[in-house]
């Protein structure tokens, strides 16, 4: 009786352990190889420099679709006589629960950061700044195009 009882308890514990292992294997965050690339059209603008970086986390859940989250920062620095008049962000892709964007312009620099989770497949972000040369009076747009691919299949 006692041995049977212990055996049953062990069986239950084993089942629970196996179930936990399966769930955790499916749900655990695994940083996968992700693709991040960016290109900034600097031909027009010898005064401004773009900085761009991204941290990408690709992970899988029980859902068969590829999911990931990304923290993305783009920055354009200028120096006198160039002034940043305006900045814009265009997100192109599918994001799920969360998307937030923050833009800051202080005249000589443009800073943009984005955070989004549960995007599928590939996303692209266009970050652009509107510059004005206070000596010559010329104004123009300059683009920075970031492209992110979710983690590859394990």
């Amino acid at each position: 009786m006692g041995v049977d009882c212990i055996g049953k308890v062990c069986e239950v514990v084993l089942v629970v352990c196996v179930a936990f292992a399966v769930v955790s294997m499916l749900g655990v965050q695994v940083v996968l190889c992700s693709d991040f690339d960016y290109d900034c059209d600097q031909k027009l603008d010898p005064w401004a420099t773009w900085g761009n970086m991204a941290e990408i986390y690709g992970y899988y859940s029980t859902n068969p679709l590829k999911y990931g989250s990304e923290d993305h920062i783009a920055q354009a620095w200028t120096h006198w006589p160039m002034v940043v008049l305006e900045g814009k962000v265009y997100f192109n892709g599918t994001y799920g629960q969360e998307y937030s964007v923050y833009i800051e312009i202080d005249g000589l620099s443009y800073y943009e950061s984005e955070h989004y989770t549960y995007y599928t497949g590939t996303v692209s972000t266009e970050s652009r700044a509107y510059f004005y040369n206070s000596i010559t009076g010329s104004h123009f747009w300059n683009n920075c195009f970031a492209h992110v691919t979710a983690g590859a299949e394990p």
Binding site: E86, N92, E126, R128, T136, G137, S138, H139, N143, F145
Partner: protein, 293 residues
Amino acid sequence: MYCETTRLSLFSSSGCRRFKPVLAFLGICTLFLCFVCFGVEANEEFIPEVPPAWLKVGTYAEYRCALSDVNFWRLEKAGAESRFGWECINLSDHVATLNFTLFGFFRNGTTIFQKNTIGYIDVNTRNLICSNGTVVGKTALWLPPYMKKGQKVVVYGKAPDEGVAECFFSGGVSARTCQGYQESYLITTHGLGITGGFDMDTGLCQDLSGSYGHLGFDEMTLLFELTATNVDLGPRYLRTEILEFLLRTVPITVPIIIITLIAVILYRKRRKRKKRLQERHLETSQQKTSLPA
């Protein structure tokens, strides 16, 4: 004595009576001027719509544009470019029929893709009209010319969901176009997505950030630069032309200027030395000739 009497007469009851009509006239004038000024200001808050005088059958404009398309962006790395253009193919009464084109190509001439749509624009209102007669809303392919700082204009949508832009730079700025640097005015919707420059003399769009889904091109997000047009944009903006040329050629012009300056200074110094030597020589020769005498 005379002055005192006149001063007294001004404040006396008879003086007041004499100046009453003048004061009344001045008061009316001031009120009228105030009314006119405030009235004009109220009217000028929104710039009145002016149909573009330059729009005729055959008028066209073409822009270098940006596409939010990852695949095309990859092609751009291999030398692909995209262009957006419109051409007026018919102008009857006050409705212009425009042929909108969006195409991508490689610099060697190979076409990657091409899209065409037809749109109808009421030139009096800038409203885009569908083929079934529905008004889509305003377009900002052109705006009234000579917008002043602070004036407002509707750049997209239709009432009550209109996008209102405000002019924040009027003149003194310019954009590079196919006809050289052209003076412009800048508008913005203050965070609602549209910012750009328009030609001062014609109101034609020079560069514009926005969405172009209403024209049928969802992927297009920016008009970078006016690359071709048969609209006369007027004289070039010389300030930018000259300064841009100088700035671009600084690595060449600055050393040339320094070398010529040094050369001129050295030449002048040598001339001065020569002159002094000549003068001394003359003095000594004169002294020699004067001594025997």
